[in-house]
């Protein structure tokens, strides 16, 4: 069977009885079996659970539009980044430390997605502990980009991006601490929302850097991503930082800012060109653009690389060798690097010079960004400075690797939402795109802009093979 590429196509197919939920699971698992060895996208598949869920939904007569209103993700096959706890299904965080860990409970987002009718197909490869921008830090080997397997799929939610490009799942979940949802989406021709910090519960998602971590969906259309976002957002009584917000569109006529600092040196001409074209398209659709200044964002990546390791060193302390099977010697190099760096910046005598100073600069960046959102509803920016790079290119140079996220850090430091949108392909045939950031809880405005843009360019979802 031909696997549908969007939630709408899937649910229309079920209504028209073109296929059953079990046939869908068959088709996805068949592809996974066929291509996973080559691309290393799934770490675990949950065949049994997928089939038992699909069988529950296999009565084709139940599928009506009414049914899908109550079960918005019915029939939707989902893959989770392997940092989302799934009760009874192995969860490794991409690390050997948790090689055999089977959690006794599920993340809030996982429960909500499944309560909405989704069928869990498996757990997706990622950089160990979500540390990385390429997927190459996974202790279970790198994931390859389905658009060209010489290239990285982007990280740290590497399997989450690649699974969409390889048509192994209809939607996936990811976490974004500094671009880890947006980058794989960008490098795999997918749509993703990095939500507002405090919009979606982090409960049951293995923590990387607690003040920066966000949980969000990746899909092939803005509509699909919006649907999943609406399923997972809101208070759960487990994550104290989550608030129920109104999620309003503030203005009927949306204005977009172009931060001049994001378009200076280091940006690849093809990346810059796709954004310029995007601006032209949106201008024709009546969106107003203006240049804005965010002078302190040039410190964002530096600030990030103080705060994030500090929080990482704290969060990874619980893997102390007493529980979970493997000891701290099972940590990979990148985790060790961050634990040491974080421990150092929090140590007595260094705290003020590093952590406290970074927090002050973070406040400064937040106030600058807040002020800009008085003038505009969104900001347009690259997701990464370049299109996907080759596997192995940056592995030996962590600093160069860190700079992949130079445009991502601002949204995480400020806790603002950002929508990553595919826009086209490079001359080499690799995916291109950009991100639209908004003020806190302005996701609906970003979705509107995204839909407007995709409609204007006649966007159609694509898979690599």
């Amino acid at each position: 069977m031909k696997i549908p590429l969007t939630i709408k196509e899937t649910q229309d197919g079920l209504i028209k009885k073109e296929f059953s939920a079990v046939q869908l699971v068959d088709a996805y698992l068949e592809r996974i079996k066929k291509y996973n060895e080559e691309y290393n996208i799934f770490l675990t598949t949950s065949d049994e659970i997928a089939y038992s869920k699909a069988k529950k939904f296999n009565d084709l007569d139940q599928y009506t539009e009414e049914f899908f209103k109550e079960n918005p993700l019915a029939g939707v096959v989902v893959g989770y980044k392997d940092i989302f706890l799934t009760k009874g299904i192995r969860t490794t965080a991409g690390s050997k430390v948790l090689e055999s860990y089977i959690p006794p409970y599920s993340a809030t987002s996982v429960s909500r997605i499944e309560n909405a009718g989704a069928i869990p197909i498996g757990k997706l490869n990622c950089d160990a502990w979500a540390h990385g921008s390429s997927g190459e830090n996974s202790d279970f080997g790198p994931t390859k980009n389905p658009w060209n397997k010489e290239y990285v799929p982007g990280g740290s939610s590497s399997g989450s991006g690649a699974a969409l490009a390889a048509n192994m799942s209809l939607i996936t979940t990811g976490t974004d601490t500094c671009g880890s949802i947006r980058l794989p989406a960008n490098y795999c021709f997918s749509v993703a929302i990095k939500p507002t910090y405090g919009a979606v519960s982090r409960y049951g998602v293995i923590a990387m850097a607690s003040s920066l971590d966000t949980v969000g969906p990746i899909g092939r259309t803005v509509e699909d991503v919006e649907t999943v976002f609406n399923v997972i957002k809101g208070e759960d009584g487990y994550d104290g930082t989550v608030v129920n917000s109104k999620f309003e569109i503030r203005n009927s006529k949306l204005r977009v800012g172009i931060p001049k600092e994001f378009f200076t040196e280091g940006i690849d001409p093809e990346v810059e060109k796709t954004i310029t074209l995007g601006i032209e398209v949106l201008k024709k659709e009546g969106i107003e653009f203006k240049e804005v200044a965010l002078p302190s964002t040039k410190y964002a990546i530096d600030v990030y690389y103080v705060i994030q390791p500090a929080e990482v060193s704290s969060n990874l302390g619980r893997f102390d060798g007493i529980r979970y099977g493997n000891g701290r010697d099972s940590f990979g190099d990148e985790a060790k690097r961050r634990i040491m760096l974080g421990t150092y910046v929090l140590s007595a005598g260094y705290y003020d010079a590093y952590y406290l100073k970074a927090m002050k600069v973070r406040s400064k960046i937040i106030s600058e960004v807040d002020k800009v959102f008085d003038e505009v509803d969104a900001l347009i920016a690259p997701v990464a400075p370049t299109p996907p790079f080759k596997l192995g290119d940056k592995v030996s140079d962590p600093l160069t690797m860190y700079l992949t996220d130079v445009y991502a850090a601002t949204a995480n430091l400020c806790g603002i939402p950002s929508l990553a949108l595919p826009s086209g392909f490079s001359k080499q045939g690799l995916p291109l795109g950009f991100q639209l950031m908004g003020s806190r809880f302005s996701e609906p405005a970003l979705f509107e802009l995204g839909k407007l843009y995709h409609k204007a360019i006649d966007y159609v979802p694509k898979v690599a093979f």
């Binding site: 969860t91 409960y203 293995i206 923590a207 607690s210 104290g240 704290s314 302390g317 140590s347």
Partner: protein, 445 residues
Amino acid sequence: MKNTLIPIIGLEVHIELATKTKLFCTCSADHFSKKPNTQVCPICMGLPGALPYTNYEAVISTIKFGLAMGSTINLFSKFDRKHYFYPDLPKSYQISQYDLPFCVGGNFAGKRIRRVHLEEDTGKLVHETIDGVKSSLIDFNRSSVPLMEMVTEPDFHDIESIISFLKDVQLIVRYLGISNADMEKGSMRLEANISLANSEQVIANKLPNYRVELKNINSFKFLEKAASVEIKRQTEALEKGEELVQETRGYNEVKQSTFSQRSKADAHDYRYFPEADLPPIELSELIIKNLQLTIPELPEQKRVRFEKEYELSKDFANILVSDLDRANYFEEALRQAQSKFGQGATLSARTIADLMINRKLDQEFPEPAGLVKKIIELTSVAYSSNEEVENAVKSVLIENEKAVSDYQTGNGNVIGFLIGMTQKKLQGKGNPQIVREKLLEGIQK
């Protein structure tokens, strides 16, 4: 002349709050002698992905305690992570408060309070021999139970004042209903920072340049022994001209001496930083004012009131107030007695207190009603019999014809005079209520 050395002691008092659920999850906080690891969940076991979620009952308890200590309540406070490794600390950090505790400053029982903050308790290690193998087991029932910590200024100079202060704290905590503060059950724990100042330092109001932290004090008896041994050790050392160092010491009950556990050089670097998983807590003046209103009558106020309102002696008032259940029992018995006897409240109050304290009748009768019944029994024996009263009333009515006719023409006040005359005849042994009844009966005949 020999240099006089004065002990300078500051306290860190830990009190486990008696909230229904733990500080950051919904497991029961009542962990004492429960089967190990039966009151645990992903949150208090620190499992991957689990997040803390603040139990505001514990925050309110802490603020109430701070208000009772005369502390200033921070309108903006937050939790911080305190890092150290120990098997009973499953997250490798304890959620505590560092630079912005809920309560700062204060003064209680004449001692200055530095701060009161809230943190989570740890699990517990249990050492057992299992199948012949010495094993260390971890019980997480206590993990994440709310623990309130009060730090005092170094205002104590002798052990007696520490004990009396702690007893006052214990009492106030029980009055607030926020904990039993039971040292034996570990719901009140103590650390004492002890150093000795010489007269020069005392005159210059300077603290000694070292202090010894005496850890894990779990009873008043233990405190008395450990602290006096430590003061003696420091006195002898300083008199010999030795230099004392900053360190943490424990007490060996068998050897009756303290021993060094950790020197300053090995002091932990706790790497405190803000707990991002919990939003900061913002309070308004109005909330604090409202919390202030919920604070019940505290022991000192009750003591004063008992002395004034019931004319109890200082000793009686003290004894009753030092146990809230007893104080409440007393007032309830009094209320019931008054509704039975009507007048003579002062007499009944003292009688009740006396029966409770000297004859321990409150232990015999768990319900105040039982005590009141007993009082009626006891006191009715002392009263003149009905026959005696009737005879006395008869003669009083005959001897005081004028008063009787005054009463009959509407001067009700004379009844008091007639009661007085009757009591005189009965040598004061008449039950006032019965005397009154019989007089009225007689007049109306």
